[in-house]
Every structure is written in C-alpha cells, then in structure tokens.
C-alpha cells in the first residue's frame, strides 16, 4: 500500500489495469452468463491476430511474383510456419464469429438502449460496434487476397465486381480498391497496406473508444438496475473509497463520482483488480488455446497459384459472405428476356439496408428502460423473435452456400464426390 499521496497517484498512473477499469465492478457485470464475455474474446482474438500477423509480415512478400511462393514457403518450409499461418487464419474466422455473437448478445439483451444512467448514451457504443463489425469484415476480406492463390484471386474478383454494382460510385469504388481495372499488382499492394496497417490502426482506435464509452455509460447495461436498487436504499452516506484514486487513498473528501451509487454498493460488487483481470485472463487463455490447437490441427488452405484464365468451379466468396452470394443467386431471375440482376439487391442494397436499420434501431426500439441489459425482456419479445428469425435465415443461407453448392452454383449434397466442401476452412 502506498504511504504518501504521491506514491498513491503514481501507483494508479503506472498500473494499466487500475485505470482501465473502475475500482469496483458489479457482480452482475462480472457474470459469465450476462455477456458471455464475447466482446473480450473478440479483443483477444484481435490481439492474437496482431501478434501472429506480425510474424507473418516478416515472411510474406506482397508482390504478384513472390506472394504465392512466400506463402507456400511459410506453409511447407518455414519452421512452424504452417502452425503460425493456421493460427492466424483460424483466429480470423473466429473473430468474425465472436464479433457477430457479441452483436447478437448486445441485441438480445437490449444493451444498446438509450435509457441508461444519467449522462450515458449507449447507442454510441452500438454505432462504434457496427463500425467495428464492418472493420472485422474488411480485415478478413483484405487478408483473403494475400496468399494469391485461386481461392483468393477469384473471391476478390467476384467481391470487387459486386462493389462495382453500387449505383453511381460503384465503378470508381472498384477502381480505387484495385488501383486498376483487374486484380493485379496494384490491387495486391492496396489490400496489403489496408490489411496490415490502415484497418488494424482503425480497429485499435475504435476499440479504445468502445472501451472508454463503456465507462462513460456507467458500466454495462446489465448493472443498471443494481444501481437503481441501491440508490433507492441509499441515504446520505459518507463517500466510500469506490473510485480508482480513492482506492489508493489519494483523495480526501467527496467528489461527484465518489458519491455515485456504485460507491455505495459494496455487497453487490467486487474490486476490479483482481476479479475482472482474472476473468479476462481466463478468457484469453481459452481463446488462445483454441486458436493455437485448431491452427495446429486444421491446415489453412493453399490452392494453385492465381490464374486469371481459369475460374475454379464453383468460385465462392469467403464463408461469412456466402449468405450474400446465395442471395445474389436467389434474387437473380428473369421475366421473359429481361434479367433481374440480384447483384445490386443482394450485394449492395440489402447489406446497406441491414446496417442502416441496425444503426437506427436504438431509436426505433420503444421498450421501457427496464428492458436494458436483460436477456429476452418480455417487452422486447417481438423484435427479438424477428431478429432471431433473420439471423437464422442468414445462417441457413451460409450453410447452403458452404456445403450444398457445387459446380455452376448448382445444388450438390456434401457427400457427393463433386462437392467442393473441402475448400471450406
């Protein structure tokens, strides 16, 4: 324990854990079931990706002449190279899964709602989260091109062609992404810079902002009613050592923050160090062990080198976009001689609509404050059901696109010899 106020404030400033978290945290927010700790798992996956990605950067060469060979070397020559590459790849897939599940949990618990402690504004974190979701997709998609094999080349050819279907700006957008008219060297270096620098930096920035907002919003929504209950019971109590600086004894007397209800509810809370840190560490270990093991067992795919002349049949987008590819193909039909092209609807308008509606949702949701931070609150039953049905539809379409689509995008059973399921991972 510090002996002077100076030592106390130094201890706070020097210890990241002490000022990243509030001094005390409610037992409810700590619970495994309230959040699944999925946001934390997403962050850990991002950390694992950053570290393994850094190693890969020393070995990968972003040139159309060398890219494929350098990845092949990584896979077959570099000591433990296939393990590092496998870990990076599986962590990328798992990050998409974790971030989506985190969104699902935030939605189902109504944790994005406007109603919160005074001064809070949780929709902000919902929006930051949506931006992070898009960044996660962007990171995965830009990384997909780098091995420069057939899988990569054609997924990106088709993907950027979908971008070109956007009205007005489509062609320019594709040109800007590719730095030309075809997927070639300029496209590779652009994707590389986006993947290794621009998008990770943006992610780090937004994640920091996201975490800071949780504290600005008075903690997780699940803890809101703990505060209310305590406030109702609380009389004018003397300030408690409930804040980081009072924990270290550097503040005498009360401040607004020190007198918040959080300070009053010792029996409802635990001190953050070590409780949050310990759980966070457990989540990290589980996430890391999973990535590392799967990275060892499953082999990241590497097909033949990219060949613009030969399109693999079928050519599939990365799995997390297959529900859209499936929609593109379902929404394409013909009336007489005119073809209704599903690309614009399935590839641009629908995803745009989904993001817009999600962004507006905190203002469309009219449920009472009591529904914030509660799983399946009865006042939110209808929206939760609709959300789950749409989610299920996307999952089913993804499964169909992944396991049931063969040559010419026709239907094949996964056990059929012509089924391309082996290219899944």
């Amino acid at each position: 324990m510090p002996r002077t106020p100076r030592e106390a404030s130094e201890a706070v400033v020097q210890n990241f854990a002490l000022h990243a978290f509030p001094a005390r945290i409610t037992k409810r927010a700590l619970s495994w079931l309230a959040t699944g700790w999925l946001g934390t798992a997403s962050m850990h996956l991002f950390v694992i990706l950053t570290v393994t990605g850094l190693v890969l950067m020393f070995l990968y060469v972003p040139s159309v002449d060398r890219a494929y060979d350098s990845v092949k070397d990584l896979q077959y020559v570099v000591a433990f190279g296939s393990w590092i590459r496998g870990t990076h790849r599986i962590a990328a897939h798992l990050m998409v899964v974790a971030v989506v599940l985190h969104l699902v949990r935030v939605f189902l618990t109504g944790a994005y709602k406007r109603e919160g402690p005074p001064g809070s504004f949780r929709p902000m974190n919902w929006w930051l989260g949506l931006a992070l979701l898009l960044l996660t997709f962007g990171l995965s998609f830009t990384g997909y091109l780098l091995p420069w094999d057939q899988l990569a080349y054609w997924a990106v050819t088709v993907g950027t062609q979908i971008a070109a279907a956007a009205p007005l700006i489509g062609e320019d957008l594709r040109g800007l992404l590719l730095g030309g008219t075809t997927v070639g060297q300029s496209a590779l270096i652009r994707f590389y810079v986006l993947h290794c620098f621009v998008l990770p930096m943006a992610t780090i920035f937004l994640v920091s902002w996201h975490f800071w907002r949780i504290r600005k919003d008075g903690g997780l929504a699940v803890a809101d009613r703990v505060g209310d209950a305590v406030k109702a019971r609380a009389k004018a109590l003397p300030p408690k050592p409930g804040k980081t600086y009072t924990l270290m004894g550097s503040t005498e007397g009360g401040t607004v923050q020190v007198e918040t209800p959080v300070a009053l509810m010792e029996e409802e809370s635990e001190s953050s160090v070590p409780h949050v840190v310990r759980r966070g560490f457990v989540v990290f270990l589980v996430t890391f062990a999973l990535c590392s093991l799967l990275g060892l067992l499953l082999h990241a795919p590497l097909e033949e080198a990219a060949n613009p002349a030969v399109t693999p049949n079928p050519a599939k987008a990365p799995w997390y976009f297959l529900w859209l590819q499936e929609l593109v193909s379902i929404l394409t039909f013909r009336i007489g001689d005119t073809v209704i092209d599903g690309t614009l609807i399935g590839g641009i308008l629908l995803p745009g609509l989904i993001v817009t509606v999600l962004a507006a949702w905190p203002f469309l949701d009219r449920s009472p404050a009591a529904a914030a931070g509660v799983w399946f609150h009865r006042t939110r039953r209808r929206q939760n059901v609709i959300f789950l049905v749409l989610l299920l539809a996307a999952v089913v379409l993804t499964i169909i696109g992944t396991f049931f689509r063969g040559p010419y995008w026709g239907w094949v059973w996964p056990w059929d010899p012509s089924s391309p399921v082996h290219t899944f991972f």
Binding site: T157, P308, A309, S329, T332, V339, G342, Y408
Partner: protein, 159 residues
Amino acid sequence: MKDDPPETTRRNLLWKSVVAGTGLGLLATALAWARSLSPKVLYEPPTKRRIGPPGRFPEGRTFLSEERIFVLRQGNAYRAISAVCTHLGCTVGEADGGGYHCPCHGSFFSETGTNEAGPAPRPLPWLPLTVTGGALVVDLEGEVGPDHRLEVAVEGKPQ
C-alpha cells in the same frame, strides 16, 4: 451593444485569414494526396493483342487463356468472343453441345453469346479482329455484332 454585429478588428481579421488559409492549405494537400491513389498510367496488359497467324487456329473453337477469349474459325472466316462472364467476371467454359457456361453462378450463353440462363445481364461481346503484319489482332475493349466475320485467305488447308 448586444445587437451590434461583431466588430472586425485588424487582429481578428488576421486571425480569421490564418484559420481559413491553413484550412484551405490542408484541404488542398489532402486532395492532392488522395488523387495520387487513382493511377494515371496502368501497367496492365494492352487491350489490343496480337494472337498469332491465322493459320495457327484449327477449325472450330479455340480458347486463349492469356486473352480470355474464344477464337472461332470456319474456313477462312474468323470471329472472336469474350470469355469474361458479363455477370461478375469469371471465365466461362465451353458447354457441351455449343454455348458457354459460367462456373461462378451458372450463367449460360448460347453459341451466339446470348445470355440465356442465370444472372448474366448481357450477352458475351463479340470482339473486333483485324490483321496486322500477318497476325490476327484482337481488340479486347471493342465490340462488334454477332455477324461480324474477318475473312482471311490462309495458305494451306485449315488443320
């Protein structure tokens, strides 16, 4: 006093011009940097390509993977059709019994290039062929009607 427009003093005029100047300067710089991302020269393969002497092509369809086209020969008449699917740009293959099939989303094009099934919004374009210095030249950006033919007298019989 309150309703008077804010007085323009020498000092705050100077201050405003500094702010405006800095802002404009930064904006111009940012635009210049952004402009650098759209290339002035593309180091991509040329769109007009020599594809070899007419005698090289056998009767019927030949796929040229480099150019992603099919060359069709009937005696002395030559035609070229693009093999780039008009849907999302995959390379189409020859379908059994004539026509073209796209592996990506299953578009089918008839022998004349007409999009008959699947998501492809337009027919496969027929490309202009010319002869230069004894070699056929195809213009990958051009388009001609399906009846366009290049007649070249070739020495020897078609293989």
